[in-house]
Amino acid sequence: MTTRIHPLLILFTLVVYVFLLGPLIIIFGASLSDTTYLTFPPQGLSFRWFQNIWDISAFRRTIVTSLQMAFLGTGIALVIGIPAAYALNRYRVALPAWLSTLFVLPILVPEIVIGFSLLRSVTVQAGVPVWYALLIGHTLLVIPYVIRVVSASLASFDFSIEEAAISLGSPPAKTFFTIVLPNIRSGVIAAFILSFITSINDVSVSLFLTGPGVSTLPIQLLAHMEQFFDPTIASVSVVLMLLTILVMIIVERTLGLAIVAK
């Protein structure tokens, strides 16, 4: 049996696809343009703007900083967030209800407010060096994501499994690593990916916390665009897109995308 699809539905679907993918296609085209300004459709065909990313030292430097922030910030957030999520779920009955809300509060507060308050307190008041202040900012930014995603995993974890292991002679701390962690592995990986992407893309918090000599890629993109309106911006965007697609393909191949959506 064939199902007849209404022509308007096909049109509507196409419009949504154009709306979603159009801007990305334009950026992709613009990055290949041979002109010294952003234009679409591209005039001429050239990869020189991709070469330009590597030639500008500020891009090289800020890519390194961005990766440092994403890896270290997410790493620290996992070390703090996983035990917090564990405790919130394990002792849900004994803990006051507002406590778990408190841990996701940073998602609700506008990032720009977090950025500014960290600038006031950590950088200005406490005099923490820029690189470290930036790291603190990125860690704080992603902790709520870690707690939420790992909590979702722990919500379906049966804690009697942990008790079974303890009753069989496994000490509680060891049980956490041999029994609990392997069973929330997909949640931890999902939390890592989500946090990593959030950190890499962050503008609002980084804008306040970057300083002399220390900047992240998105901030450098903004700075570059204020001075030059050339297709380098588009090239960097394409590289970022390709990196994201690569990460997604790896996740899909190894774990299945469903775990990130969960």
């Binding site: 292991a165 303890i166 009753s167 069989l168 002679g169 496994s170 000490p171 029994i179």
Partner: protein
């Protein structure tokens, strides 16, 4: 190897709520004792206290000569079987069973040999390499049983192990549990809310209510000679008739209800009868008849069909009773009858 368990006057709280009060219980070596009661009666709390997942606020728990009271749960050496099986989802059946041996530093080859031998005993040797998700409920519970038994614990504890299984499997599994427990001679504490299960599997049963043990005895005594109204009601003595003795003639005792209806009971059949007592009967033990004779005059209410008999709601003076009547003679509501107690289905309750 196996050890007697002694629970000595423990009290436990959840926050400020007292859930167990001054509870004492001994399980002899090799004995299986069940804790039976409705949810919230404290039976699972008792088990968790012995397992070490909860701390009592007073009292002591001993296994043989070893004081468990302050010992961390992972050092108690107790085999636990959970209601939801609690198998490790990321380990194979064999690894699940070997887990406890690994904690006891049993060497690899020996560990596998013992795990496989135990799997063989529960009839699952052919599934050793599967993950738990690929097993049926009954198979999962067998793995859980094997995992608890393989460490040769001095004490086995079961927390409603059969309540997630279907009725037929439940009966097979309880026989299997009993056989394994008997064969190993392991002391066992068994928590359930299912009366038939508790009575069929246990040496002794503790009927619990509101954090106390109401009666601890063999299933036979509990079923025939409940000690108080709660236990009587729990084991199906649904009719409670308060009586006062008016005359004693050797073993024969005559007693009357508050309405003045007289019953003659034999102490040879029912044991010693105090001057004021409650006669507890099952619906089976109270026959509705229109023939008259010695019994309680009553008026029938609703009739229901049980297959082997008719059952009636009945009012005898101020008492609401449930009585049975023969299939040969269905009786209509508002029929005046006599309710005749059958001593074999009666118990004497002393005033509390």
């Amino acid at each position: 190897m196996t050890q007697p368990l002694t629970i000595d006057r423990i009290t436990a709280h959840y926050g400020t709520t007292k859930v167990l009060e001054d509870l004492s219980l001994s399980v002899a070596e090799g004995e299986l004792v069940s804790l039976l009661g409705a949810s919230g009666c404290g039976k699972t709390t008792t088990l968790r206290l012995v397992a070490g997942f909860l701390q009592p606020t007073a009292g002591a728990i001993r296994l043989g000569s070893k004081d468990l009271t302050r010992l961390p749960a992972h050092q108690r050496d107790i085999g636990l079987v959970f209601q939801n099986y609690a198998l490790f989802p990321h380990l194979t059946v064999r690894e699940n069973v070997a887990f406890g041996l690994k904690q006891r530093k049993v060497a690899g080859p020996e560990r596998l040999k013992r795990a496989d031998a135990m799997l063989d005993r529960v009839g699952l040797a052919h599934l050793a390499d599967r993950l738990p998700a690929a097993l049926s409920g009954g198979q999962k519970q067998r793995v859980a049983l094997a995992r608890a038994l393989v460490i040769e614990p001095p004490l086995l504890m079961f927390d409603e192990p059969l309540s997630n299984l279907d009725a037929k499997l439940r009966i097979d599994m309880r026989v299997e549990i009993r056989q394994l427990q008997r064969a190993n001679g392991t002391t066992a504490l068994y928590v359930t809310h299912d009366q038939e299960e508790a009575f069929s599997i246990s040496d002794r049963v503790a009927i619990m209510h509101q954090g106390r043990i109401m009666q601890l005895d063999t299933p036979e005594v509990l079923y025939q000679r409940p000690a108080n109204a709660f236990v009587a009601n729990f084991v199906g003595f649904e009719n409670l008739i308060p009586l006062k003795v008016t005359a004693r003639n050797g073993a024969e005792v005559t007693a009357i209800t508050s309405e003045g209806a007289a019953l003659t009971l034999s102490q040879d059949q029912l044991g010693p009868i105090p001057n004021a007592f409650t006669l507890a009967t099952r619906p089976d033990g109270l026959q509705a008849t229109t023939q008259g004779g010695a019994g309680l005059p009553a008026v029938l209410g609703l009739r229901t069909y049980l297959g082997r008999a008719y059952q009636y709601q009945a009012r005898a003076g101020g008492l609401s009773l449930i009585a049975n009547g023969p299939l040969s003679q269905p009786l209509d509501p508002r029929t005046a009858v006599t309710l005749v107690p059958n001593p074999e289905q009666c118990a004497i309750l002393k005033p509390e």
